[in-house]
Symmetry: C2
Subunit: 384 residues, 2 copies
């Protein structure tokens, strides 16, 4: 087993926008490079819903995908994942993977959860079985899953959240982070390549708490940092305000990951604030409901108006699927409830999201990001 140094992760900022905090960079991992800003398709249960891995690679041009610790821990379970040789070997995805720590799912999905200083006990949403997540065992679990980026175990506060609770929660999240770091730094990866632990800034919508959390995390000097607890129902302006505060504190020379964000406009605005990495279920979930993000605006493909529109779904995104199939055909597939509807729409929406961040990157590099961003935020939010 090849064991490299514990902090194997390289990040270089290649270009910084002059009129915003946007930057173009490159992250190097054991499973290859990631050009930032980047969007990471969500593969909760070890698969990006309705999309083949070959399509993620060849059509969508995904450079990194997500998995979820809570779901993978429950099914297929750690024994299977370890026997398989980790998630990469299990699902055949050869590029980088990031796993969410499961904190969010414990709160949103599981039953009878109870938070203590030790960790969280909860009952599975599948069979009601009882489980305990602690900062330590969540690190061990993510060692077994074997993602390139693994997330600290935290409490993701809901919105709204009163100040008192947010402050108390932040204290627990900080204590847990130190325990995560200790466990991570005293254990080895299992499959011969290094993993990177990302701390998560919390603090709800309170400037002082966000500031405190970001400073605390900046001081840990980990190779990459995340911003959590946003995009949970708060107004976009508040999300941007918190993101801006945090980005100005987190180190410039480390990648910044804004968790669970968001719409195309959210992503562009957050890139302008200095965010490098994004994930969101929106492109795949909306795809399954027939809501398409296109380079011309938003389409509800089930709408009658597309029934005889034989133009391509979107001729401007990389996916051959989006350029080959017509709106009329995709609408038909949704009307008759065929699997292929979700398949084509998911490929398209993800391809659009990757096109979006790749375009932002190009604009940052050629110095036209700010004006382009302001035009696109309007255009991409338009309902066609």
């Amino acid at each position: 087993m090849l064991v490299l140094k514990n902090y194997f992760l390289d990040f270089i900022v290649q270009h910084t926008d002059t009129s915003s905090n946007a930057r173009a960079g490159k992250i190097s991992t054991a499973h290859g490079d990631i050009e930032t800003p980047i969007f990471m398709p969500v593969g909760t249960q070890g698969t990006v819903k309705a999309v083949h891995f070959s399509e993620l690679e060849n059509e969508i041009k995904a450079q990194i995908i997500l998995g979820n610790t809570y779901h993978l821990y429950l099914r297929p379970g750690l024994e299977i994942l370890q026997k398989a040789g980790g998630l990469h070997a299990f699902n055949t995805w050869k590029k980088p993977i990031l796993t969410d720590s499961g904190g969010y799912q414990v709160y949103s999905l599981s039953h009878r959860r109870k938070l203590t200083e030790e960790g969280v006990t909860f009952r599975s949403h599948i069979d009601g079985s009882k489980h305990l997540f602690t900062p330590e065992n969540v690190m061990d679990t993510q060692r077994i899953i074997g993602a390139d980026f693994i997330m600290a175990f935290d409490e993701c506060t809901p919105y709204p959240c009163d100040y008192r609770y947010a402050k108390k929660s932040l204290k627990i999240t900080q204590d847990w982070l130190l325990r995560c770091i200790h466990r991570f730094d005293t254990t080895q990866p299992l499959y011969g390549y290094e993993q990177t632990l990302m701390p998560i800034v919390q603090g709800s919508v309170y400037k002082d708490l966000r500031t405190e959390s970001a400073e605390f995390i900046a001081a840990q000097q980990r190779p990459a940092n995340a911003i959590g607890g946003l995009a949970v129902g708060e107004p976009a302006d508040i999300m941007y305000e918190m993101t801006d505060i945090v980005c100005n504190i987190l180190p410039k020379d480390k990648p910044r990951y804004l968790m669970g964000v968001g719409t195309p406009a959210n992503i562009l605005e957050s890139i302008a604030l200095g965010v490098d990495m994004f994930d969101c279920v929106m492109p795949t979930r909306n795809a399954r409901h027939g809501l398409l993000f296109t380079t011309e605006g938003i389409i509800n493909i089930k709408n009658q108006k597309w029934k005889d529109d034989f133009s391509p779904i979107d001729a401007n995104v990389p996916a051959a699927t989006s350029r080959k199939h017509t709106k009329a055909y995709l609408r038909h597939l949704f009307v008759v409830e065929e699997y292929l509807a979700a398949q084509i729409a998911s490929i398209h929406n993800l391809s659009f999201y990757l096109w979006l961040v790749q375009s932002a990157r190009e604009k940052i590099i050629n110095g036209t990001f700010a004006t382009w961003k302001n035009e696109m935020v309007v255009k991409l939010s338009k309902r066609l």
Copy 2:
């Protein structure tokens, strides 16, 4: 618009098995050649369920697929299909297509159907709207869909079916065939390539009726012929007996299509009787339920026993998907109810079916079909 002669279809028998009636042949159509014996994946509503067209072509190696007149007539409807330029243009499949006439679906799906000499009135299974199918308008509909092979409008008798009804039904089917032929021969294709009308032998499980029907149809001297009304619940022995009688009457120099058949064993036995073309929903429907046909036997992939089997789904079929993914991963996808489960299983099962007929063809050509067939019928029916 290019209009060729009305009977554009070429079929050559390349090899005939010495110890059975199996033959290897080649059908030439406006959309390319088909090597027989062939299995045709079913694309009822203009898509093979859960499978992309690129996968049909590149992984499964399908040479022709089916569409269904009843379903396509209802949705997307003839106006959309004609505006699109036919089904090939609508769904992007460039190889041959065959459309079932809708007779079977009118009986199995629609409500309050009433058969008269004129045709069948029925109510849509979707919205209860009232429709009339006649031999003439079903030909017109199939002109609009634009499949390479179109089927005569017939009554597919159920099983069991008393002799008196079967005889009466056969008379109607014969009258309708003559009307189909007249309509077909006095109309033109719409999209610049020729179509081929296939008559359908009926007669339930009665030797004299099957003989009468096959002789009637042989006398029509159409370029290809079909056998219908089997695989509707009768014992396999009776199906083979009827198929044998009919194959001995239908012209040797025309392709023979056994509709709706069947299991891998059914297909091999029917190839031995002289059948060239097959279709069945079994590979795709079973795939969606986790039942896999493999070169080693039948697998219920949901079974606990596959949970840590990291061998490929099937290393002996052409599809890269079947060789790349493990049984353990596919089982996981079924357990967690992911779209990708049906997607991978459908690609696999269809790839297996195409492998099966392609292998039969090779064995016919190299003279080892009979012994191979007898071994495979046992092996492929085994539950692993």
